[in-house]
């Protein structure tokens, strides 16, 4: 039995049936990482001692007949923006090189409390600013399907780790597509939850009113279990929702495909969309149709403004969220400066990656004296319009199906010098974050170069249970999600 190709449920059951031990599972993953991560470069910090210690504890519980958590024995790769107490957390940036946090993120603790095993901290664009993981202050991560290409971003390390089966699942964040896009580019499943569904406490803030904490895994079934664990109100996060958490994993067969109204927004199937992706996504839609769903043409007219709303509001919030990084209470620091202003400028200038600086500059400009009305306030109003358009559409359809990104994984280095090009890659994902809606990314095929691609299912607020059910049923009918890349040096 290949211990690195099991779902969360199968791992847990296998442990209970004594088919294998948690230590065996963890060791298997650690060996793979040892052999193959120099090619993929998903990890910033691997945590073998912690992993084996945790695995031993799980095995001990089983041998003593004690209850084990719902994620028991599954290994998790955690995006480095999630603070993990006592374990280096860099957020993919040199600004936090060597930072050992004094506390952990709430959702990380929740996942650990269900006996998951921490296999390591994975690479990402710095503070999650990026769409290709190339902005990381450490190194670029490579797409396991084609090592010369990007894995997507900003949760590139998370997606690559799952695709390369370096871990059972991964934690990521989605502020403008950062889970869905790398998931699609690496052929794995990913969930962007409703804003407020999961706690943001203990995760470095990018854009406070957009950030969501989610996960990536090989199956939607896994995502349901993980989300059931992660979701819920947190007294430390005033924007976390008090909506009760459904038992997602028990509701996977709940939604009937017959009569399900699936909206196809015309703005998402524009000329910008790669024709191969369009074809595969339509095939997915047609598969649903074959099983009784109705496809409905809909329009979200303000889609193209989503990028502009996003790139005003997000950098604005970023610019303030980044102000605490001054090298005083944590993080590396320059030694002496000639005056206070120079101290701040040198410290922040020296360690911040270019993309970090870029976004801070845009945001500071947009908020600066005289510009608030023109930029921040205006964008916040258009945000209302975009939100309302989705609400209007959900009067007509149950769920929206759309591509995730305009292209499949492009070669490393191809777009690094063109920030505007990079920003435009977010066009199909950002409006969902602007509105705060949930969206599930599901693999649905490959292009002519065997690069993965996927579709997203967008639901109304707090309908993750429906999205999981609809996505899970697609995975019962297809096997795209089961395919994994062949990496060099594989035994």
């Amino acid at each position: 039995m290949e211990l690195n190709n099991l779902t969360i449920t199968k791992i847990r059951q296998g442990l209970l049936d004594k088919k294998f031990t948690a230590v065996e599972v963890a060791t298997n993953y650690l060996d793979r990482i040892n052999k193959l991560d120099q090619e993929v470069r998903a990890f910033i910090t691997v945590t073998p001692e912690i992993a084996l210690e945790q695995a031993k504890l799980v095995d001990k519980k089983i041998s003593e007949g004690k209850d084990i958590g719902r994620l028991a024995g599954s290994t998790v790769a955690v995006k480095d923006i999630f603070l993990t107490k006592g374990i280096q957390s860099t957020s993919g940036s040199r600004v936090l090189e060597g930072y050992i946090p004094q506390y952990s993120s709430t959702v990380f603790e929740k996942v650990m409390s269900e006996d998951a095993i921490l296999i390591g901290k994975v690479n990402c664009d710095p503070f999650a600013f990026g769409v290709s993981t190339e902005n990381s202050g450490y190194f670029s991560t490579h797409n396991p399907w084609d090592l010369s290409r990007i894995p997507g971003g900003s949760s590139g390390g998370s997606a690559a780790a799952v695709a390369a089966t370096f871990s059972t699942f991964a934690l990521g964040s989605d502020t403008g597509g950062s889970i869905r896009q790398p998931a699609a580019m690496c052929g794995v499943s990913g969930i962007k939850v409703t804003y407020g569904r999961t706690s943001r406490y203990g995760v470095t803030s990018m854009a406070s009113s957009f950030d969501t904490m989610g996960s990536l895994s090989s199956t939607v079934e896994d995502l349901a279990l993980i989300t059931e664990t992660m979701a819920g109100i947190d007294p430390h996060d005033a924007t976390s929702s008090s909506e009760s958490v459904p038992a997602y994993s028990q509701l996977l067969d709940k939604v009937s495909l017959k009569g399900l109204k699936i909206g196809l927004p015309k703005e998402y199937f524009s000329e910008a969309l790669n024709p191969e992706i369009k074809q595969k996504v339509m095939e997915a839609a047609q598969l649903y149709q074959k099983h009784g769903a109705t496809l409905v043409d809909i329009s979200l007219p303000s889609t193209s403004l989503g990028i502009d709303v996003y790139y005003i509001l997000v950098p604005s919030e970023i610019s303030a969220n980044m102000s605490r990084y001054d090298g005083l209470r944590f993080g590396p620091s320059v030694r002496e400066s000639k005056d206070l202003i120079s101290y701040y400028m040198e410290n922040r200038g020296q360690f911040m990656e270019p993309e970090v600086k870029r976004r801070i500059i845009i945001g500071t400009y947009a908020l600066s004296s005289g510009y608030y009305d023109a930029y921040y306030l205006k964008a916040s109003k258009v945000r209302t319009v975009i939100k309302q358009e989705f609400q209007d559409v959900f009067q007509k359809v149950d769920v929206i199906l759309a591509p995730v990104c305009p292209s499949t994984a492009w070669p490393l280095g191809q777009k690094v010098n063109d920030p505007l090009q990079m920003y435009l890659e977010d066009v199909f994902t950002v409006c969902i974050n602007v509105a705060g809606l949930p969206s599930l990314a599901v693999p649905c095929g490959f292009d002519g170069q065997n690069l993965p691609l996927g579709y997203q299912l967008i639901g109304n607020y707090f309908t993750e249970d429906r999205l999981f059910s609809i996505g899970h049923q697609y995975q019962q009918l297809t096997d795209f999600h089961l395919q994994k890349p062949k990496l060099n040096n594989i035994k």
Partner: protein, 99 residues
């Protein structure tokens, strides 16, 4: 809203406001990179939003509070552990010539 052309001078001033040092090269690069971004953003003007209320919170949450009950603090040791320089429980600011 009139769009100001992004110039090196503007980038320089904003960088100072944001306390982020940029090299001369970075200033030039950013000016050429961010100009098209800001121009793109001007397309928001195409939508009339006079009658629209802004969204500052996508949730419909309001009145989220904490009771006035003392919770555990970090120990002094943990609080200052990651500080670049600390002394007798304080975080130390690096020397600057004039404060």
């Amino acid at each position: 809203m009139s769009s100001t052309t992004i110039t090196d001078d503007i980038i320089s001033k904003v960088a100072k406001l944001a306390r982020v040092q940029l090299t001369e090269e970075e200033i030039h690069t950013f000016t050429s990179q961010l100009s098209p971004v800001m121009e793109h953003i001007d397309s928001l003007n195409s939508l009339n939003t006079d009658a629209v209320e802004p969204t500052f919170q996508v949730t419909n949450l309001k009145n989220v509070f904490r009771e006035d009950v003392i919770l555990d603090s970090l120990s002094q040791k943990d609080a200052i552990a990651p500080a670049h320089k600390s002394e007798q429980g304080y975080v130390v600011m690096p020397k600057t010539i004039d404060k």
